[in-house]
């Protein structure tokens, strides 16, 4: 009994010393994982994931507080990438989050009163204009996050779907016509 105690005490003290020392000697700050997750997110900053932007969502995922299937702009593809990155199983979109077609915001010039509220809402500074002047959206910068829609007092902002033309047309995954036995 006594020898047993001594043995275990010796063992655990030895380990405790090693671990206690290592805990301090090898301490690291920050979490490189967040950056990697953030790099996968689409940076639309739309908040549809329930977090105030992509980075906070990335932090939540890294901490294991949030699921990987909450970002609609990232699409199915995004979930797959996150699943790969984190080594977890892919899962389809959670809740009612569903990806939408890509769109850019458009300001109806005749209605805009130049209140600058939308400028303050836009997370990527895609709206230019000064107080009491007509505002305009730089289409190439707009991520389509729709955050500028709610603040506008006169509802002059609408979302235009990006139409398909030759320049952005994509080849489709070949749909194999269900194999029919040719008689």
């Amino acid at each position: 009994m006594i020898s047993a105690l001594w043995v275990m005490i010796a063992l655990s003290v030895l380990l405790g010393i090693v671990l206690g020392y290592a805990a301090i000697r090898f301490k690291i700050e920050g979490n490189p994982l967040v950056e990697k997750i953030d790099a996968v997110l689409p940076q639309t900053q739309c908040g549809q994931c329930g977090y105030p932007g992509c980075k906070p969502y990335a932090e939540a995922i890294a901490k294991g507080e949030s699921d990987i299937n909450l970002c609609p702009p990232g699409g199915d593809e995004g979930i797959h990438k996150l699943a790969d990155l984190l080594g977890v199983e892919y899962k389809p979109f959670g809740g009612d989050a569903q990806p939408k077609a890509k769109a850019v915001a458009f300001i109806d010039e005749n209605t805009c009163i130049g209140c600058t509220l939308c400028i303050q809402a836009c997370p990527v500074d895609a709206i230019v204009g000064a107080a009491k002047q007509m505002h305009t959206i730089i289409a190439s910068e707009c991520t389509g996050c729709e955050l500028c829609l709610p603040p506008c007092p006169v509802d002059c902002i609408s979302m235009d779907k990006i139409a398909e033309d030759i320049s952005n047309w994509k080849w489709q995954h070949p749909v194999i016509i269900p194999i029919q036995a040719v008689a």
Binding site: P174, P178, I179, Q180, A181
Partner: protein, 342 residues
Amino acid sequence: MFSSPFISQPSSVSQIMLRVLLALIPGIAFYVWYFGPAILVSLTLASITALVTEALMLKLRNRPIKPFISDNTALLTAWLLALSIPPLAPWWLIVVGTAFAIAVSKHLYGGLGSNPFNPAMIGYAVLIISFPAPMTHWITPHSVDGMSLNFAAQWSYIFSGMLPSGLTLDAVTMATPLDTLKTQLHLGQSVADIRDMPIFGRLAGHGSEMVAAGFALGGLYLLFTRIISWHLPVVYLGTLFAVAGLFHVLDPAHYVAPLFHWFSGAAMIGAFFILTDPVTSPTTQKGKIIFAAGAAVLTYLIRVFGGFPDGVAFATLLMNICVPLIDIYTQPKVFGKKGAGK
């Protein structure tokens, strides 16, 4: 919407498989000649089971039945499996083996083209592990002793397990030449003594050496019609010869000559028909060479030092496991990235 190219060479999967089936015929013919028609019963049983299982699985998987059932791959699996188990095996043995091969090792993976393991060999491995006793009762060739069974007797043994009165199982079946060799060596006999036993012929087992030669003949047909490339059979047989030759030269009393290994067991059918299964072998040339050499070494090790009389099936399966990695690490250099353009 059509996409280019708009023309294609006339060829189809079912046609390729049909040719492989045809190439098996010489071997089967010799089989019947030396061992009687029992093998035809197992071929038929296996074929029926394979087709029924295939159709059932396709239906369960919601896939069109007709094009897949007529692609002949199920038949091929069935034949190769039937050829690798004793012809006198009870009927349920072949049914279980074939059904397992088609259902589990092929269709659970997604059917034709998706299976990582050779279905026929999975069937064989399952059977030899689950039912080792019936799997070791091989038929004795006609010419070795007078007690060979006629077709009716073979038929009734397969379906009811009854032998004509006066005959024991021991009298009409035997261990295969490879197995006998191993057992006798175990008992301390030398290779030379063992080879004097009546069941051995000039190269290997009496009769079975001709069966192997028949398969080699069919294999050459496949080579010439370019259905298989030379890499697999040549490297496989070459390595087997080299390894067996090395041991034989070092200690001829305990290790048989390489030609014995070529013409025993499943070496020939393995080299030309089993390892060459396109779905489960590597696609690159270097990969095929590694695959075949590895399989040959494993075959030899299992045959000579391992727990099974023949190693072809397990060697194939073990190398099947390595195929994805082999493929990844033997990618050929693409156009323009090969260094000097000569």
